[in-house]
């Protein structure tokens, strides 16, 4: 038998591993004065405005055009804040629109939603280069049945970007460091056993 090996080619099948983490709703934290607060809450308008303001000019233009919207395997990102989730959401819709000419629904509605949540936002500039390895966001929406508004405004939704060759989020489970009492859903399902990666 003759085995053919291509020269100078090193192939890997590494791919991105994005996780949607949904925290349980019945968990509270205790502050320094022994007062309990739920760890999940809906962001206020002021919180969203304060968070997105650093990208916004005096005319209300939010400029993401210089940002890295390649949501692939690295860097490791934990998207918890309003602006981080806005970027992930808009990039998902733009990427989806580029490859689904028949279905252009989503992006304009998402921009309208952001303007509704933070009326001070008048327009949003996006980068021209956008990339994903897989359209995770839409499968999460289908599977867990949340709206774009839920994702953006509710602190229980956290998106994590990782790659299977790094496996940082996977390590958190592997070394028994994950708060399994707090995590209701991890879309990568690490908490139900070690997933191959």
């Amino acid at each position: 038998m003759k085995i053919q090996i291509r020269r100078n080619v090193f192939e890997t099948n590494s791919s991105s591993m994005h996780s949607l983490v949904i925290r349980r709703n019945d968990i509270t934290s205790v502050d320094d004065n022994n007062v309990e607060h739920p760890i999940n809450r809906i962001l206020t308008h002021d919180e969203m405005l304060t968070n997105i303001k650093r990208f916004m000019d005096k005319q209300g233009i939010v400029d993401f055009s210089y940002r890295n919207w390649y949501f692939g395997r690295s860097p490791f990102r934990i998207m918890t804040t309003f602006s981080e989730k806005v970027e992930y959401l808009l990039a998902s819709y733009l990427y989806f629109r580029r490859y689904n000419e028949e279905n252009q629904i989503g992006f304009d509605e998402a921009v309208a939603l952001i303007k509704k949540l933070v009326p001070e936002v008048k327009d949003i500039k996006c980068p021209s280069d956008i990339g994903f390895d897989e359209a995770y966001y839409f499968s999460w929406k289908n599977q867990y049945g949340f709206s774009d508004e839920d994702f953006l405004t509710h602190t229980r939704y956290i998106a994590i970007q990782d790659g299977d060759e790094y496996g940082k989020w996977h390590d958190v489970y592997l070394y028994n460091l994950a708060s399994e009492d707090v995590i209701e859903v991890d879309s990568m399902d690490f908490h139900n056993g070690e997933k191959e990666c």
Binding site: V21, R23, D26, I27, T28, S29, V30, D32, E36, I39, P75, F76, I78, T80, I158, K168, D171, V172, L174, Y175, N176, L177, A178, S179, E180, D181, V182, I183
Partner: protein, 178 residues
């Protein structure tokens, strides 16, 4: 269910942290052997080739914490971290020889030095490097971003697995850099 979190936020980013888990788990010699890349087929191949068996970690992580995030929590990672901190140290080599007498060649270890003065840090805390390598209770987090802080403050990390002293005030040994 409620969770108590009393932590100093300045302590959780851009730094290296040392934690001690409550659970004490000593690593077996077989696990150490695997961490050193010694498997039956390695032994066989070197015997066939009549070559000394090297200690070699491949070209993997060198634990340069810049722009990165590492959770060093298994024997392989702790051993490599110790080597990169102690910089191919005779004490470490001799100890490995005692544990795994089949290893004869130490020339293939990376000459990379990560800059963390682990020796001084462990001495100050009365921990031997052998204990550090061989016990899964020791966890080091290297973070040049805010990854660890975000994971902790999002309640995604269970600090209860660590001892009280380190969980709520993880030891920052960034200051010990050479």
């Amino acid at each position: 269910m409620s969770i108590v979190r009393i932590m100093n936020s300045e302590k959780l980013c851009d730094r290296a942290y040392f934690y001690i888990k409550k659970e004490n788990r000593e690593v077996t010699k077989e696990e150490l052997q695997e961490a050193c890349g010694i498997y039956p087929w390695t032994l066989e191949r070197h015997k066939e080739d009549n070559k000394p068996i090297p200690l070699w970690f491949g070209y993997g992580d060198e634990f340069d914490y810049k722009d990165n995030f590492y959770i060093i929590a298994d024997v392989n990672a702790r051993l490599q971290f110790a080597y990169a901190s102690y910089f191919n140290d005779d004490e470490l080599n001799n100890w490995i020889k005692e544990q795994l007498p089949m290893i004869e060649d130490f020339s293939k270890i990376s000459t990379y030095r990560n800059g963390f003065n682990l020796r001084e840090f462990l001495n100050e805390n009365n921990i031997t490097v052998q204990d550090f390598i061989m016990n899964d209770k020791y966890v080091v987090v290297l973070d040049d971003g805010i990854h660890w802080g975000k994971l902790v403050y999002s309640y995604l990390v269970d600090l209860d697995v660590f001892t009280e002293e380190t969980a709520y005030q993880p030891i920052d040994f960034y200051g010990s850099i050479d």
